[in-house]
């Protein structure tokens, strides 16, 4: 799997918020095998760059950091935050979130496309958090995005894939763009389902961070993602309308005699 020319072997991207402690976060990352972690700047930053201590901890993990613009409600906020992230983490990668309203945390797709265009022009490699809408996805690709991150369900809702059909169409429509299901997953079977649809990777945070045992849950997701990926490549069956016996009809005892 390649994101903007970077080859990655783990198909799990992990968020770093809401864990019981940084130590448990570190262990969960290890158990997940994730090579990319997302970090929120907006909420932790403040005016004095007060998050340094936590960010140093993240940097010390030696992973690739995907900073995000979580909590940004306007194009301007998102663009400013992306530039700040670039300075802090020395990366061109940015997970772009432009949120419409605080209640649903639904992406503002109009602002998203605009911010993606500006940031791509500024040299960023944009990972947009979007819906499964095809037209929006088209616009994002046109704006320069070479990875798309559609939601499974609203952020933190643990509902899984709300619109599996829509996600499947998106996959069919963009066979060559890496697609990552970002947000809304609750349990490993949700992640497996995303991978079975042919998605390239899954991004998680709350489902792991707020599990009773985040380290075990991280591992469980990693296994599910591997299983889903393997199943997808193994050409699974399509659902059928009738039963098909799984036992071959050979050598059945003849009871008529």
């Amino acid at each position: 799997m390649t994101f903007y020319g970077v080859e990655l072997s783990s198909r799990l991207l992990l968020g770093t918020a809401r864990y019981p402690s940084p130590a448990i976060l570190g262990e969960a990352i290890k158990a997940s095998g994730a090579e990319v972690v997302t970090v929120s700047l907006r909420r932790e930053a403040g005016t004095e760059r007060g998050g340094q201590s936590f960010w140093s901890f993240i940097r010390a993990l030696g992973l690739r950091v995907l900073p995000n613009t979580a909590g940004c409600h306007s194009v301007k906020e998102a663009v400013t935050t992306a530039h700040m992230a670039h300075e802090l983490f020395d990366t061109k990668w940015i997970k772009l979130e432009v949120i419409r309203d605080d209640e649903t945390l639904q992406p503002d797709v109009f602002g998203l496309v605009e911010a993606a265009r500006i940031l791509s022009h500024d040299g960023f490699e944009v990972f947009p958090y979007t819906t499964e809408d095809l037209a929006v996805a088209d616009r994002l690709v046109e704006a320069g995005c070479r990875v798309l991150m559609p939601w499974g369900a609203p952020i933190g809702s643990a509902r899984g894939l709300n619109n599996a059909y829509g996600l499947k169409s998106l996959r069919a429509h963009f066979p060559d763009i890496p697609l990552v299901v970002d947000a809304g997953l609750g349990v490993p079977s949700h992640a497996a389902a995303a991978m079975e649809l042919g998605y390239d990777a899954v991004l998680l945070n709350t489902a792991v961070a707020e599990a009773g045992d985040p380290v075990a849950m991280a591992k469980a997701f990693a296994l599910a993602i591997e299983a889903g990926r393997m199943a997808c490549r193994a050409q699974p069956l399509e659902p059928r309308d009738m039963a098909v016996p799984s036992t071959p009809m050979m050598g059945r005892a003849s009871l008529g005699d």
Partner: protein, 334 residues
């Protein structure tokens, strides 16, 4: 027993409780504090003051509850203002799942229905259909509790000197108990600050007898009643060491929590909005570390009042064990 002299650095909850424990066990103690007055430079001053080991159990590692449970008795013995009426956990109707989830992760509580909620907190009548009641928990007003501990220290002849910039290099104390909180990061390099913001309001329209925690998927907050119609609402938790004032967003969240618990809080007067940094280690668990003659008591994170007595006891046990060993060796060689 040999009378070694102990200097406790820092007059927050860790320092004062350690000093009291050591003094009560017969050691010669002195407290120094860099701030000009009680609470001026202590994050304990902005604490919630909940002694809630079993509520904490739902979101923290078991060690917090194990260390914290005995502290309720310690505070009851040392601060008469300790209120042992338990605590209540509620959730807005649409977030009922949060309540079950919270319950699954802890113990020592009862499920209570609307009738029982009304008996416990008449002013919350009709607002919640079910809640978790933790009968064995307690709470206190941190500022009054610190003052009471300071007063008790004075009675025992323990001096507390404010405005002192302590330097271990020039101190001839036999033992240093370093309770400087985040300021101790010059020695404890893995210490970090976790920002918290709190609100203090006053209203005569409502009365609560015990802390109420409001579960919410995004913003779990709590309200602790103080005396005279005063309530403390806390607290945000942000991985930041920014020392600026409370952000508008955090203020909105804290105010919303109060309003969600009861709309009558809408009429309350805002007395204080404050922010500070909690000292925490990477595992968010407290430790007593020893280096030469210095004990570092730190990393109490969100649980200063809950954990201080347990850590103070660890320091006192270690010191007295050494003292009696030394005493024994001295007598044998005599």
């Amino acid at each position: 027993m040999s009378q070694s002299s102990v200097i406790v650095v820092g007059a927050g909850v860790a320092g004062l409780v350690s000093a009291l424990e050591l003094a009560e066990r017969g050691l010669r103690v002195e407290v120094v504090e860099r701030g000009p007055a009680l609470g001026a430079h202590s994050c304990s001053w902005k604490a919630g003051g909940m002694l809630a080991p079993w509520c904490e159990r739902a979101t923290t590692e078991p060690e917090i509850a194990t260390l914290g449970a005995p502290s309720i008795e310690w505070w009851e013995q040392h601060f008469p203002g300790t209120v042992s009426l338990g605590s209540l956990v509620v959730a807005p109707p649409r977030d009922g799942g949060e309540l079950s989830r919270f319950a699954k992760r802890t113990e020592r509580f009862e499920w209570v229905d609307a009738t029982r909620i009304e008996e416990l907190e008449p002013d919350l009548a009709g607002r919640f259909r079910r809640a978790l009641y933790f009968p064995d928990e307690a709470h206190l007003d941190p500022r009054r509790a610190l003052a009471a501990v300071a007063e008790r220290l004075t009675e025992l002849g323990v001096p507390i000197r404010f405005g002192v910039d302590f330097s271990a290099d020039t101190s001839d104390a036999d033992v240093i108990v370093d309770c400087r909180g985040l300021a101790a990061r010059d020695a404890l390099h893995d210490l970090r600050g976790v920002r918290g913001e709190m609100l203090v309001i006053r209203t005569a329209e409502l009365e609560l007898s015990r802390p109420v925690r409001l579960l919410h998927p995004r913003l779990p907050l709590y309200i602790v009643p103080r005396e005279d119609g005063v309530f403390m609402v806390g607290a945000t938790m942000i991985e930041s060491e920014g020392r600026g004032g409370v952000s508008v967003r955090s203020a909105v969240e804290l105010l919303n929590a109060a309003y969600a618990l009861h709309p009558a809080f809408g009429e309350a007067e805002i007395l204080e909005l404050a922010a500070d940094l909690r000292p925490a280690f990477p595992d968010n668990l407290p430790t007593v570390r020893r280096a030469g003659r210095t004990f570092y008591v730190n990393g109490m994170f969100r649980h200063g009042f809950l954990l201080a007595p347990a850590l103070a006891k660890q320091v006192a046990d270690a010191l007295l064990m050494e003292a009696s060993d030394a005493d024994y060796r001295q007598r044998r060689s005599a």
